[in-house]
Amino acid sequence: MDLSFSDKEIAFRDEVRAFLQTELPAHISDAVRKGGESSKELIEEWHAILSKKGWLATTWPKEFGGPGWTPVQRHIFEEECCRAYAPRIVPFGVNMLGPVIQAFGNDQQKAEVLPRILSGEDWWCQGYSEPGAGSDLASLKTRAVRDGDDYIINGQKTWTTLGQHANKIFCLVRTKADGKPQEGISFILVDLETPGIEMRPIKLIEGGHEVNEVFFTDVRVPAENLVGEENQGWTIAKYLLTHERTNIANVGFSMQALEEVKALARKVIRNGRPLIENPHFAARIAEVEVDLEAMKITNLRMLYQAQKQGAPGPETSMLKIKGTVIRQALNDLARRALGPAAAPFPSEMLEGNMALAPANHANEAASYFNNRKLSIFGGSNEIQRNIMTKAVLEL
C-alpha cells in the first residue's frame, strides 16, 4: 500500500503546476473563479495554449499528437487544472470523437479529423439524445437513408452541449429499422453548415444557454462520413462511453468547490459571527469533506485498477453516483451559506459596492440549479445503479 505518487509523477505534477502558473492567463482563471459559463473566446484561447504545449488531447497516444500520458498523469493534470481554475477542456472533440476515430476511423478520417481537433479548427458537438431517447438511447429515431453516395438524415437531436459554438456534429442515427434496436444504429460525422440543419437554443433552469436542439430535415451527408461499418454505431457508442468515464468522479472540481465553500463560510457573517463558527453549518461542511476525502482514495483505487487492467470497469458507476452527490452537496452548501444574497438574478445586477455576495460568489444559486444536471446527464444516477445491479452486484 502506497498512496503517494512516484518521484516521476511528482516531477510531472510540478511541471504541470509551473506550466499553469506561467501559461494560464489571469483573465481566464478569473472568469472560471467567478462561476457561470465561460465564453467561446476564452475556451478557444485556453485550448490553443494547451494545444501548443501538446497537452490538449490528454487521452491520445503520441502517434496521433497526444502526450501519451498514463491514467495517473492525466489525473494529476486534471487535478492541477482544477486547482489553478483553468477552464474545463470541452470534451466532445478531444475526449470523445478523437478516441472513436482512432479506434474505428479509416486512414482518411484519421488524417482529416484529428489534426483539426488539435488545432481548434473544428468544434465538435454530440448528437446522441433525442426527445424520446434519453436514458433509453437505443430507441433513437433519427433516420439516415442511403441515397447513392450520400445518406439523407431526418430527425431531431437534443441536449447538444455547446452546439452553438460548434461547426461539426457527430451523430448516432438509425440505418436499419428492423431487428434489435441496438443493431440498426450507425455513427456519422456531419458538417453543421450542411443545408437542412437548424439549431435552437434550450434555455436552462437557471437561465443559461449551454444545450441545444438540432433539427435535421433532408440533410445530405457524404457516405464517407460514416465511421466504422454501417450499423456498428452501438459498439462505437459503448466504446466511447468507457472513455467518457475516466475521471468521472470529478474530484478536482469538488476539491475546488470545498475550498470555495469554506472560504465563503469564513466571509459570511451570521448572527454576529462568521458562518463557519456555526456548529451546524460547520458540521455540514465537515461531513462532505470526509466523504470527499474518501472519494479521493476511491478514485485513486479505481485509477490504479484501470492502470493495471487497461480499462475502467463497471465500478466507475460508483464514481459517477457518489461524485455527483458530493459535488451537488457542495453546491447546496454554497447556496445556503449566502442566505438572501444568493437570490439576485441575473447575478451581475448587483456588483461592486452594491454586491450582496462576497466576490466570485454571486453565482452560487445558479450553479446549484445548473449542477442538478450532473446526476442526470451522461447516464443518470438511476441508470448507473442499474449498471451496478447487473455488473457489480450480480442481482
Partner: protein
C-alpha cells in the same frame, strides 16, 4: 377537531385558485416574474378587489381575516400559481401597522404598496444584529433583499434607536432604492438609507417585528405546500406518460418508492403548516412557526431535487413550468430564516 375549512375560507380559496388559474397562468407568471418591475399592477388591483389583501388583516383594522388559516389559504393558492406579486411584504406590513396603531386603509385596498425592511446583509434573519440606526427623525444603514421593495410606496424599516429596536415608516421616494429580480422570480431591492427622513411609528418594536416575521414565515410555509402539491402532481403526470425502455417510467419500482416518500413528506409539510397556523396567536407561536419552517425547508428541497431528478432533462429547462416551481421551492429557504436557523430557534425555545 375539524380539519375542514370554514365556508368563508373555502370560498376565498376557490375564488383565488380559480382567478389565478385563469388570469395568472404559468406563461403570464413567468413573464411577470423575471421582467422588471416583477409586478402586474392590474392584477394586483384585481387581487385586492377579490379580497385577498383584506383576508390578511383582522376586522379591527379594516380587514376580514388575519388569522393563521386565512394566511395559509391565501398563500397556498399563491404558491399553486407561483404568483410573484409582493404579497409577503403586504402581510407583514399589515401586522406591523396594526401593532403600531397606524391606519392601513391604503394597504388593504391595494392603492399603496408596502414593503418591510428588516434584514441586513450581515443579519438576514435575526433581529439582534441589526445595524441600521436612527438619529432623530432620520435613518442610516442598508437593508438588503427587501422583498417587493422595488415597487413599494412605503417602507417599514426596523432600526436601532438607543436601546430599543424601533419601527419607522420611510417614503420610498426619500430612500435610495436599487431594485432587482430574483432567481426564483419576483423583485426585491437594496435600500440605502443615509440620514433619510423617517417617521417613528413604534418605539419598542421587537415583539411586533417577531410577530410579523413569524406570520411571514407561516405564509412561506403555506406557499411551499401549494408549490409542492403542484410539483408533485406534475411529476406523477410525467411518470405516467414518459416512456423509456418501452415502459412508462412510473412503472419502475425504484422511482415509485421515492415518490411514496415524497408524498409522505408533503403530507408532513401540510400538517406542520396547519399546526403553525393554529398557533399563530398563541404563546408558543415562535416555536410552532420555526418547527414548520424547518420541516418545510427540508421537504421543499427534497421535493424539488427529487422532482428534477426523476423528470430527467426536461425538468432542467426553463420552458418546462416545473423548473420554476423547483427554483421557488429551493429559494424559499433563503427567506425569513433557513432550515438551520429555525432548527436552532426550536432548540433555543425548548419545550413549549
Amino acid at each position: 377537531m375539524d380539519f375542514s375549512l370554514t365556508e368563508d375560507r373555502q370560498m376565498l380559496s376557490d375564488t383565488l385558485n380559480r382567478y389565478l388559474a385563469e388570469q395568472y397562468p404559468a406563461e403570464h407568471r413567468i413573464k411577470v416574474a423575471y421582467d422588471a418591475p416583477f409586478h402586474d399592477a392590474t392584477k394586483w388591483a384585481e387581487l385586492a378587489e377579490l379580497g385577498v389583501l383584506g383576508a390578511l388583516a383582522p376586522e379591527n383594522v379594516g380587514g376580514f381575516g388575519g388569522a393563521g388559516f386565512d394566511i395559509t389559504v391565501v398563500f397556498e393558492a399563491l404558491g399553486r400559481a407561483m404568483c410573484p406579486e409582493p404579497m409577503l411584504g403586504t402581510l407583514m406590513a399589515s401586522r406591523l401597522l396594526a401593532a403600531a396603531g397606524e391606519d392601513q386603509e391604503a394597504l388593504l385596498d391595494g392603492s399603496a404598496r408596502y414593503a418591510v425592511a428588516i434584514g441586513e446583509i450581515e443579519a438576514p434573519y435575526e433581529l439582534d444584529h441589526i445595524a441600521t440606526t436612527a438619529t432623530g427623525e432620520t435613518l442610516s444603514g442598508r437593508k438588503s433583499c427587501v422583498y417587493g421593495g422595488n415597487v413599494a410606496d412605503v417602507l417599514l424599516v426596523a432600526a436601532r434607536n438607543g436601546d430599543d429596536l424601533s419601527l419607522y415608516a420611510v417614503q420610498a421616494a426619500d430612500a435610495q432604492i436599487t431594485g432587482y429580480g430574483l432567481i426564483d422570480g419576483g423583485g426585491a431591492a437594496e435600500v440605502m438609507l443615509d440620514a433619510t427622513p423617517a417617521r417613528l411609528i413604534l418605539q419598542d418594536a421587537k415583539a411586533a417585528l417577531e410577530d410579523a416575521l413569524d406570520a411571514g414565515a407561516l405564509a412561506l410555509c403555506a406557499e411551499a405546500v401549494g408549490l409542492m402539491d403542484v410539483t408533485n402532481a406534475m411529476l406523477l403526470d410525467y411518470l405516467r406518460q414518459r416512456k423509456q425502455f418501452g415502459r412508462n417510467i412510473g412503472s419502475f419500482q425504484a422511482l415509485q418508492h421515492r415518490c411514496a416518500d415524497l408524498a409522505i413528506e408533503i403530507e408532513q409539510a401540510r400538517s406542520i403548516t396547519i399546526f403553525a397556523a393554529s398557533r399563530l396567536e398563541q404563546p408558543d407561536r415562535a416555536r410552532a412557526v420555526s418547527m414548520a419552517k424547518n420541516l418545510i425547508g427540508r421537504a421543499a428541497k427534497l421535493v424539488a431535487e427529487e422532482s428534477t431528478q426523476m423528470h430527467g432533462g426536461i425538468g432542467m429547462t426553463w420552458e418546462y413550468p416545473g423548473s420554476h416551481y423547483t427554483k421557488r421551492l429551493v429559494m424559499l429557504d433563503h427567506q425569513l430564516g433557513d432550515t438551520d436557523f429555525h432548527l436552532e430557534r426550536v432548540m433555543r425555545l425548548g419545550a413549549a
